[in-house]
């Protein structure tokens, strides 16, 4: 056997080996640099990437965007509503405060009015009562005066009568009424003097 035969045998064996592992590309050199498989890779890249792009842009991404948008809107709405409610509550509070202040003022004015009215009434009653009392006092004094005068007259009359009776008894002659009265008046004047 020549060297040539050995070499050819070895080559044949190597070829057989290569055939046996035909499925596996030759491990000599980088598999990345074997152009035989480039079209297939590009084809399947285009298919998978293209399909994924189509699904993403037409379905998945709009769905996610929709959900996020909806949530954002909902939160904004809720915040708006909350601020609305807050404003309403503040309005109600200020209205309540206003009403309270009004009621207080009204109560105060009513109290003042009532007090003034009562003061007036009391003053009126007082003047009325005073007037009445003064009238009664005046009447009573007038009567007392009258009675005093009457009593004085009666006393002078009685004194004159008595004097006449005494004189009649003593001298058996009754002075005139006029003389008796004058004598009593003189005596009274002397007594007073």
């Amino acid at each position: 056997m020549s060297v040539f035969a050995i070499v050819t045998n070895a080559a044949a064996a190597a070829a057989e080996e290569a055939q046996a592992h035909a499925a596996e590309a030759s491990s000599a050199g980088l598999p990345q640099l074997d152009p035989a498989w480039w079209p297939s890779q590009l084809f399947w890249l285009a298919v998978t990437f293209g399909f994924l792009y189509w699904l993403m842009s037409s379905r998945f991404l709009p769905a996610i965007a929709g959900a996020i948008e909806e949530r954002r809107d909902r939160i904004a709405d809720d915040l708006d509503q909350a601020s609305d409610f807050k404003r309403q509550a503040e309005d109600a509070e200020s209205a309540y405060n206003q009403a309270l202040a009004d009621a207080k003022a009204k109560a105060q004015s009513i109290a003042a009015d009532t007090r003034a009215e009562m003061d007036d009434e009391i003053a009126e009653l007082q003047t009325e009562t005073d007037a009445q009392l003064a009238k009664q006092v005046a009447t009573a004094e007038a009567r007392i005066g009258e009675m005093k005068a009457a009593a004085a007259t009666k006393v002078s009359e009685a004194a004159a009568e008595t004097a006449r009776a005494v004189v009649e008894t003593l001298i058996d002659e009754a002075p005139t009424e006029e003389a008796a009265n004058r004598a009593v008046a003189d005596a009274a004047a002397r007594l007073r003097g």
Partner: protein
Amino acid sequence: MYRFRAAGPMEQFEILPIVDLHLGSINISLTNSALWMIIGTGAIIVFFFAATRRAALIPGRLQSAAEIFYEFVSDLVRDTIGPEGRKFFPYVFTLFIWILVSNLFGLFPTIPIPGLPHWLHTFTPTSHLIVTLALATMTISIVIVYGFYKNGLGFFKLFAPSGLPLWLMPLLVLIEVISFLSRPLSLAIRLFANMFAGHVILKLFAGFVVSLLSAGGAVMLFGIAPFFGAVAVTALEFLVAALQAYVFAVLTCIYLNDAVHAADH
């Protein structure tokens, strides 16, 4: 002999056909890469379908999670592009979620069931440069098409920052054009390289553990270090998976912002 799959660090990236399909002369076979694109996309669809089935005012757990994703990307688009960015939001969102799930699902360890078909092993579609390059090209195409549609020839102002001395213009325009043209490449390679490197490192650490344990004897003890290394790198890779999806989305937004506001420069 049953060959252990993924013995080498590169085998995890191999494309394995499951169903041979041809569109004319173009090979569009269903492969493990296609399968994991479908699994990832299917998982996203199931999740969002469940989350949006009953859009409630008070969200459930799923809806909350979906809304967190939504708000996250929505804020990103609004902060970067402004109100005009609204029309790009579905694109950025799809991009972010697709890359995120693609990155993350590749991190699930394959359950070692004997006889499990090799094409069922977890696979990261974004660990292939052609996929990330296609995504980056898509972004840049939108930037260019929308840029010209919105600004007309004013889109070229993007390459000529205002308020510069005239003699500096040619140099700066050249730099701006180069930086613009390198955008799809840097965008694609950043994501691809992160995924690729992460998975290689994970595989290397895991491979160390297996080989040290199978050595037997006291050498087995040395398997502990790479084991914890693999655990740590896994945690790191989850961070990288999420971060790179985010970075891709952020850069897409920044580039789209250029298209929207090119004439304002």
